[in-house]
Amino acid sequence: MNSKVLMQGNRIIGEAAIRAGCRFYAGYPITPQNEIPEYMAENLRKVEGGVFIQSESEIAAINMVAGAASAGARAMTSSSGPGISLKQEGISSMAAQELPGVIVNMMRGGPGLGNIRPSQGDYFQATRGGGHGDYRTIVLAPGTCQELADLTMDAFDLADRYRIPVVLLADGMIGQMMEPVVFKEPKPRQYSADYVLKGAGTGKAKTIKGLILDPLDMEEHNWKLDRKYRVIAAKETRCEIFNTDEADIVVVAYGTAARVAKGAIKRLGDHGIKAGLFRPISLWPFPTEELRRLAGTRKEFFVFEMSTGQMLEDVRLALQGYADIAFHGRPGGVVPTPVELANVIVRQYRRDR
């Protein structure tokens, strides 16, 4: 039985990755995630076969991860907004080459350099592929430090199972906070290693590539990836449904915003409004069916994000025609209080009556 420890979010990611068998980490300093490379520098190199590299750039980091993944290692990189933008070329390439890997994005205010405060402005980038070409990445959004630990481990399993880059999408708030956490036992690594490069031995040489010049062959590769994404969409959605049985209104929020929403939901009770929470944990695939099922009995949904409204579009795709959707957002690194959110919802709710 693993004991409970108090740790900071970013360091939890590092520890969970090492426990999950991550043996290669490359990264470049950027706030608010510097504790991840610092933790790996200190601890990954102590592990047998563990490699830590402070890369010269974000681009180099993701391409080192691609190389390490092609050689069979569980590999990870981490960054925040601007750095994740730089990594997109490599993520697109890994998607094309069907290489597993874990990419952590501790979101900060943007666009551009923006600031280093918690934000959720990278939702579109994460859930729509992010780089060039026709592809998806699995995107997991932890809401607590315990979930940081669990989802970091799950991310490696999913990356292996589907040979796909997996994005862990959190923000500076969760990365900086400390909470008690219990590290679960990692599952044995289950994957088909037939793609791994280790030299051809006496057998046939293997090639890992993304260049497919014949358009019909490239189309077939696109459809092959698409079939994989459909399987993932059918099997890997995750969400938390909280307090919705008696609810008049369902707040839809993820990550840090969902924590604020839970606080607001308690206060809404004082105003005589019964509210529940729908919290997507997998942002891609988005838990569309689970959300639509909720709309069978409830007609009012309230989307709350620390952005100008990005997940809102996925909620609309799920609920348009089924329910009424309202929205409140605070972009730019602002984290509203539960009181503010509760007041906004109360005003909205009363105005509609």
Binding site: F24, I53, A60, G67, S70, Q97, G199, K206
Partner: protein, 259 residues
């Protein structure tokens, strides 16, 4: 009867090189494959082809290969070599790939003393995209993006990347060769074999620059292209050993990362 010539085992059995007549890539490929055979390391070799004319190298080499995005070969090779230090790892790159878009990856892999080898094909133009100006394009050399000839004021100067990398303590062996004559091909083979041997001995980063004819984009006959390397190109990029640290034994400071 004694067999004096055959296809290297490390080249695939059935293919025709797609390279233009007179191009240096096919010669370099063959030479590398011969060396892999001679060192007996086909089963433990991993190559990293670039974005560029040589992107299809994996259709020719019968060794494990992973294609890198443009310029990222040294980063990909770093990831591979650190995970599999027992393998012979080489990155194969052109001048645009290595000295322009991938300069950071190249410089820092060299500076970390990564224990792999780069084969650097310098033909002074972007070949695959149709002959645009490269970082190594000579002054006054015409290209599709320097139509009147490269102008130092507007376009900057040709980069001697091998000399720059030789200044880094992490590099063990750097030599500039060419494949414009049988004698020079033999010298190139000797240099690459030495670089691979240094890597196998754990001595750190090695790079072999090969001045490679590109008759198509230079708009010359293959013979004239070979002459141009002797008469013009090698004046800007002198042939020879640029750095050799044979004394740097395995396990010493900066000498690879085999653990």
């Amino acid at each position: 009867m004694k067999k004096v010539f055959s296809r290297p085992e490390s080249l695939r059995k059935k293919f025709v090189f797609h390279y233009c007549p007179g191009c240096g890539h096919s010669i370099a490929h063959r030479v590398i494959a011969e060396i892999i055979d001679e060192l007996g390391v086909r089963g433990t070799t991993i190559g990293v082809p670039p974005a560029g004319c040589a992107v299809l190298a994996y259709n020719y080499f019968d060794v494990d290969m992973i294609e890198a995005m443009h310029g990222r070969g040294p980063a990909v090779a770093t990831g591979i070599k650190r995970v599999r230090p027992e393998c012979l790892v080489f990155s194969y790159q052109g001048d645009g790939d290595l000295a322009a878009i991938g300069i950071a990856e190249t410089f820092h892999a060299a500076n970390r003393g990564e224990n792999f080898t780069i084969i650097f094909m310098n033909n002074a133009v972007y070949g695959m995209t149709g002959g645009q100006m490269a970082p190594t394009t000579l002054l006054d050399q015409k290209s599709t993006t320097s139509p009147p000839g490269r102008n130092a004021v507007l376009d900057g100067y040709p980069v001697r990347i091998s000399e720059i990398l030789a200044m880094l303590p992490g590099t063990a062996y750097i030599e500039r060769c060419t494949v414009n004559s049988p004698a020079n091909i033999v010298k190139t083979k000797r240099a690459i074999k030495k670089a691979f041997q240094y890597q196998l001995d754990g001595r750190g980063f090695s790079l072999i620059e090969i001045l490679s004819p590109c008759p198509t984009n230079w708009k010359m006959s293959p013979i004239d292209a070979c002459r141009w390397i002797d008469d013009v190109m090698s004046k800007q990029f002198p042939i020879g050993v640029i750095k050799d640290e044979p004394a740097k034994a395995a396990g010493k400071e900066g000498a690879g990362h085999d653990r």
